[in-house]
């Protein structure tokens, strides 16, 4: 735990009025509640028994009993379990793939005056200026036979140019003497990257990997565009289909609105899907957040 110092009010600064203090307190409370209240209500409803939801007439705002039935139902196999596996797989492999490729490219371009680094850097930077457009990209992915494959979710945006540039400028600020002495000792370029540059760039690499991971977990667009088979859907598409659009979830119970039709998911089940979609982000967030204070990202953004 870090010791947090309370900043003292400077001598020249006048004491705020009581009204000013109160107003500021109210605004801060409203801002914090606006973010946390929806999450609180959704999480609470997902662990409430059906009786509590019926009594509340909808979302539960005051704790009233506890039940993990919704999670048991969702995670005992079926659409949502599969989507969690799919999204986890994409997030793990995609993050590895993207992070490794970004590291290699950033290091490869970080040596001043290396062969052809200017034109290669130009190839990277030009992508900032003009995107290829949705239609030609779709047709290319389709003609490569990648429709309905997981490769289509990873390959088109595997290396984020922004991350590459951020890492590269970080690498360029590593004292050149370190790299030079390693080379004199006979280290290969790959050895310099893994043994010298990477250990010095742990924090920034971790942040970039976490950003990739959150991006892959949250990815909707590519999956929506390229995956036709619902069996292959990641969690974000499942969230849209069964919660936002309220379609019946195959293999789950609940009340049937129309006799004989598939039962609609109960509110607890829907909210459990939302929680499942958000939990990995909430879990990763403190690790990303830790680095904001260290100024890693800010320094990186300022480039």
């Amino acid at each position: 735990m870090t010791v947090v110092a309370v900043r003292r009010r400077p001598l020249w600064d006048e004491e705020p009025t009581l009204f000013g203090r109160a107003a500021k307190g109210v605004v801060v409370a409203v801002v914090v509640l606006a973010v946390l209240f929806p999450l609180y209500v959704v999480i609470l409803t997902s662990v409430s028994p059906q009786a509590a939801i019926t009594k509340a007439g909808g979302l539960v705002m005051v704790p009233d009993g506890f039940s993990l039935a919704a999670y048991a139902e969702l995670l005992s196999g079926g659409v949502v379990s599969r989507a969690v596996l799919v999204s986890t797989g994409i997030a793990v492999f995609g993050t590895l793939f993207s992070t490794v490729l970004t590291l290699l490219a950033a290091y490869g371009l970080s040596r001043p005056r290396s062969f052809a680094h200017r034109p290669l850097l130009f190839v990277v930077l030009l992508t900032f200026l003009f995107g290829p457009g949705m239609i030609p990209t779709y047709l290319l992915v389709s003609s490569l036979g990648l429709i309905d494959t997981y490769a289509a979710l990873v390959l088109p945006g595997a290396v984020a140019a922004f991350n590459l540039v951020v890492l590269r400028s970080f690498f360029m600020n590593i004292p050149q003497d370190l790299v030079d002495s390693a080379r004199i000792d006979g280290a290969s370029e790959f050895g310099i990257l893994t043994r010298i540059v990477l250990p010095l760039s742990k924090a920034v690499t971790a942040v970039i990997a976490l950003f990739y991971a959150v991006g892959y977990w949250n990815a909707f667009f590519n999956a929506f565009l390229y995956l036709n088979t619902p069996d292959k859907w990641p969690i974000q598409l499942v969230l849209r289909q069964y919660v936002l659009q309220g379609q019946p979830i195959p293999g789950t119970g609940g009340e049937s609105v129309i006799e004989g039709a598939a039962p609609l998911p109960t509110l607890a089940v829907k909210m459990a899907v939302v929680v499942i979609a958000v939990v990995p982000v909430l879990f990763v967030y403190p690790f990303v957040q830790k680095h904001f204070t260290k100024g890693v990202i800010l320094g990186a953004i300022k480039g």
């Binding site: 309370v6 801002v31 457009g133 540039v165 974000q236 958000v278 990763v284 957040q289």
Partner: protein, 324 residues
């Protein structure tokens, strides 16, 4: 990210000794640097395949493309697709919606991160400040599907607000499906998701303000609000101008997912933006060449706006130097 800056970045490396003959130096550098090239290669190949090849694929905007005949055999039709765009009310409705949303957000979204940053900066307790920052940054890491689902659970027909109204015998209000409220709703969603994250850059600018300026102003009798106006805000002006210009350069992009996900709820007339229009004409209706042309128009106008905005930034950049 200013591209020119990165290219002309001064290097600290030891200069390679100039070889007597150019060609020899060239070969030696290649032999020395091939491991670096091998490291860059995978990323460059991905950029070439998934960025530059489709960039060239925009040529179908000038064709009557059909997936069955392919890009090489499809007949060229000149500017026919672009002529269609200019007489297509659907395209212009989407363009109008996009620009309306951009302008609305410029007025009602843009100032919020600035005000929030000023509020955070004024909190004396570092612990409270860290807590509030952690909370307001969080929604930036949520997907749009999640954000809209949360909004639906709060504002929708069976959401928290309407449940409360119903329980207390009041009239319920339909917020998520009302086209008249859509502009306000999407702006509120953007504020909820990204306004906190947007404070980062302003907080960085605020942390560079010289505190002796405040002291001097206070000694000269400037109160809290005069100091805000004459010391704090001038420090933020360069950042505000830069962000404003960048947003203007990006005026035709308001995001795809947020509008696709809510198009059914309020209807295409209100929620169709240029990106969703391209998606529905191309991927859904298979009018590939026309959709590519619409996308190309958006891309080219967007590029011109970015370049124009960059010029503007340079003009204001002169003033920015004066700020220091």
């Amino acid at each position: 990210m200013p591209a020119a800056d990165l290219l002309t970045r001064p290097s600290t490396a030891v200069e390679t000794p100039v070889a007597p003959r150019r060609e020899k130096a060239w070969r030696r550098r290649l032999r020395r640097d091939w491991p670096l090239l091998a490291m860059v290669a995978p990323a460059i190949v991905l950029y070439l395949v998934f960025h530059y090849v489709p960039l060239l694929g925009n040529v179908i905007a000038f064709q009557n493309y059909s997936p069955y005949t392919g890009i090489l055999a499809s007949p060229f039709t000149g500017l026919y697709n672009f002529e269609r765009i200019f007489t297509d009310p659907g395209f212009w409705q989407a363009a109008l919606n996009t620009v309306t949303i951009t302008l609305f957000q410029l007025v009602f979204y843009f100032p919020i991160p600035i005000m929030l940053a000023l509020l955070l900066n004024s909190l004396l307790s570092a612990r409270l400040r860290m807590f509030v920052q952690s909370v307001v940054y969080l929604p930036h890491f949520f997907s749009w599907v999640l954000v809209i689902t949360l909004f639906q659970q709060m504002f929708g027909g069976t959401g928290a607000i309407n449940t409360f109204l119903r329980e207390h015998g009041a009239q319920t209000v339909d917020i998520m499906n009302n086209p008249d409220l859509f502009l306000g709703l999407v702006t509120l969603q953007s504020v909820w998701k990204d306004a906190g994250w947007g404070t980062i850059i302003f907080l960085a600018a605020l942390s560079t303000v010289d505190t002796s300026l405040y002291e001097a102003a206070a000694v000269d009798g400037a109160g809290r609000w005069r100091r805000l106006w004459h010391v704090t805000l001038p420090a933020l002006v360069p950042v505000i101008v830069l962000l404003l210009i960048m947003r203007l350069g990006d005026a035709l992009s308001v995001g795809f997912e947020q509008f696709l996900l809510q198009r059914d709820a309020v209807g295409a007339n209100t929620a169709e933006v240029l990106d969703t229009y391209v998606y529905f004409t191309g991927v859904v209706n298979n009018d590939w060449s026309y959709a590519a042309a619409a996308g190309l128009v958006k891309g080219v106008v967007g590029l011109l706006l970015v370049l124009g905005a960059n010029k503007l930034a340079h003009v204001f950049g002169q003033q920015g130097v004066y700020q220091k």
